[in-house]
Symmetry: C2
């Protein structure tokens, strides 16, 4: 017996790997949920009862029975007919005339974001994100050794005036930001949707200062109000927006089907890098999504989801107004989240832990979404997952802890 | 319009990314297959008609109907009950007493291998592989900038005497190999199975010289002869074998379900790195595999696959003996491949292209599997995929080209 010292074998890259603070909370929630029924405001998942699982059952049955290719490899970029449906989807939903050959199907938006890190980001590179921003993008790109700069947001999204100032300041120091990452619609964690003026300004800034934009469109199709918005990609004359699409939030996170829509110059590089790392996205999932799109079910599923999530959002916002009067929070017109700024002396971690322990209410502290160790008094609340009749009770329990 | 120069934005890492020469051949095959019926000896896939797709259809229907969690995220390491079934599987099939908490479910074996690259391999690191070895592992680890050293094989697998000599030579030059990658059973591309003596010797060498071993067990359960073999992991007293498991070759490559069985010291690191890069493996696929294991179908599926692939292998070997007498080739007792060494003046690429164009017979040149630009006269032939009654015809067509 001559047990190795594993640390000796590890890549220097591991110094950039941080465990997700949120996954710890998620483990606690999973453990608690074995003991008791919890009210979950934690996940970034759709409501599994809003997903038409009976339809998927029928489709999956047909797929396995009829399609020999359901059980073998697809091309690494995804099945050609799925990429064609995604191109049609981008025309219908994003006003983007996408070439199917510039679409690469990925394991949800997550793998798309990781591939961008893998092929674009070097240690020391500067990346600009909203502050707060999606914790998993932050953690993934940190694995590539980048330096993140967070730009504050208001109710209209990323403060593009601050962005411009920040970029000018960097340039005056001889520094260069490679890309700007944004979730313009129904942002995670805040639920904020960027206004059209800000979108235009963002595109202008990227063009003027020669930056790439990564548009994470995960929540683009869960919109609850009449807001006039367009995807950044549809406004992208320069072709400097890398579009990260996902069916997760409408069709189900468990399927793991997302995509990259890339400038054509980058497609072969991304395919070459992706090929050996996954061979291909899961084929039964690809075929389920393909049928849902092709047979026209997507719009129906989306409309039903919007109807139900809008009701849930309103119940949550009303409960917050009632039980947490005066608390600063977002009023999302899209997405799945309400973001709370508790009184500045209140610790979001402590509230989240106590809410889980004492009241079986699951929430996610907002701090890990921040790039600058601020946001300790914040909480992210998901409104898509919990049953309607428990949302008010959950908010009431939270309010009692805050007091 | 101010189109960016994309090359300016790319990571230095892209210098290590090589397009797969095999994917080009696969594209040509896909194109040809639209025009005519091809006889495919190309893929590394199981026969879709050997996979019990009707059973999967029933299971998938039940899963979507009954399980709310089928459409939402699982933990990044996979569903707990799947990891428990995999632990049971490792006991039954690998004689390994695995802790479910040291199992991480991955997107096939591919993602497992990529994660090893990501967390273990630094640019300039030396990695030892069989020569030839699996082209996708070679391409993936090259993306991490490693230097590969290939060890020749004979009919008993990796020449461990040469391995020992190579390691001694490296040490005398002050160099250090981090790990040895092997596919000990039914190797890809050769179909060779490592003898017990070699396995023991390999483990001894790793222990003596303090190396890690990565055991790619993709073909461990497609064994056609009474050969007394054990997984390296089951012989691994030091705990220096990282085990890469896969259900792809028996249950279907399209599902994308594999796993890592890791030394416990490495589990949290791998989970932390994997989390943001994929969130989780596809949940419907995880649930299908879980049911197949739990309800005892795996052994039945495996036995049927072995029966059919053994017949196909024998048809192929008989046809080679008949139409290509005197040609050197492997006689696999496991796996999916026969490897051919054509006469030294024959170019495997040319034969593969001509066989496809002229006779609609798809094969894969062996050269990309070599670490040292040798093997130009080799071909990899898969025997699991083609219908029984077409195998002889395909080999005859190949033989006519070789002559």
């Amino acid at each position: 017996m001559n047990k190795p010292d594993y640390s000796k074998f590890l890549s220097s890259r591991i110094n950039f790997v941080e465990p997700s603070p949120i996954r710890e909370m998620v483990s606690k929630i999973a453990k608690k949920s074995k003991e008791t029924l919890i009210i979950s405001f934690a996940a970034g998942d759709p409501d599994p009862d809003v997903i038409p699982r009976k339809l998927y059952a029928e489709i999956a049955k047909r797929i396995f029975e009829d399609e020999r290719r359901s059980v073998i490899y697809s091309p690494t970029e995804g099945l050609p007919e799925l990429r064609e449906e995604i191109a049609r989807f981008m025309m219908n939903y994003e006003r983007v005339n996408a070439d199917p050959d510039s679409i690469v199907v990925t394991i949800g938006g997550s793998q798309a974001i990781d591939l961008i890190g893998r092929l674009i980001l070097d240690p020391g590179d500067i990346v600009i994100v909203e502050n707060p921003s999606y914790v998993n993008t932050i953690l993934d790109w940190k694995q590539y050794g980048v330096r993140l700069i967070g730009i504050p947001m208001d109710e209209n999204g990323m403060r593009t005036d601050v962005l411009e100032e920040t970029i000018r300041k960097l340039r005056s120091e001889g520094k260069f930001a490679k890309l700007i990452y944004t979730i313009p619609t129904g942002q995670n964690p805040t639920g904020i949707t960027m206004s059209m003026d800000r979108r235009k300004h963002l595109i202008e800034i990227a063009s003027e200062h020669d930056l790439l934009i990564v548009e994470d469109a995960a929540y683009n199709h869960l919109i609850y109000e009449q807001v006039e918005i367009r995807s950044l990609k549809s406004m992208d004359k320069d072709n400097r927006v890398v579009f990260v699409g996902s069916f997760s939030k409408v069709l189900g996170t468990g399927l793991r089907v997302g995509w990259l829509y890339l400038p054509s110059e980058l497609v072969n590089l991304f395919k070459a890098a992706k090929g050996p790392s996954d061979m291909c996205p899961p084929v039964p999932s690809q075929l389920v999504v393909h049928r849902v799109l092709k047979e026209g079910y997507f719009e129906e599923i989306r409309k039903n989801a919007i109807k139900i999530y809008k009701e849930k959002r309103d119940i949550m916002l009303n409960a917050i107004a009632r039980y947490l009067p005066g608390i600063k929070h977002t009023k999302p017109s899209a997405g799945m989240f309400v973001f709370l700024w508790l009184p500045s002396h209140v610790d979001g971690w402590k509230i989240a832990e106590e809410a889980l322990e004492k009241h079986a209410v699951a929430t996610i502290p907002g701090a890990p979404f921040y790039t600058d160790n601020s946001g300790r008094n914040t909480l992210r609340l998901n409104f898509s997952m919990a049953p309607k009749d428990l949302i008010e009770k959950g908010i009431e329990a939270l309010a009692n802890l805050v007091k």
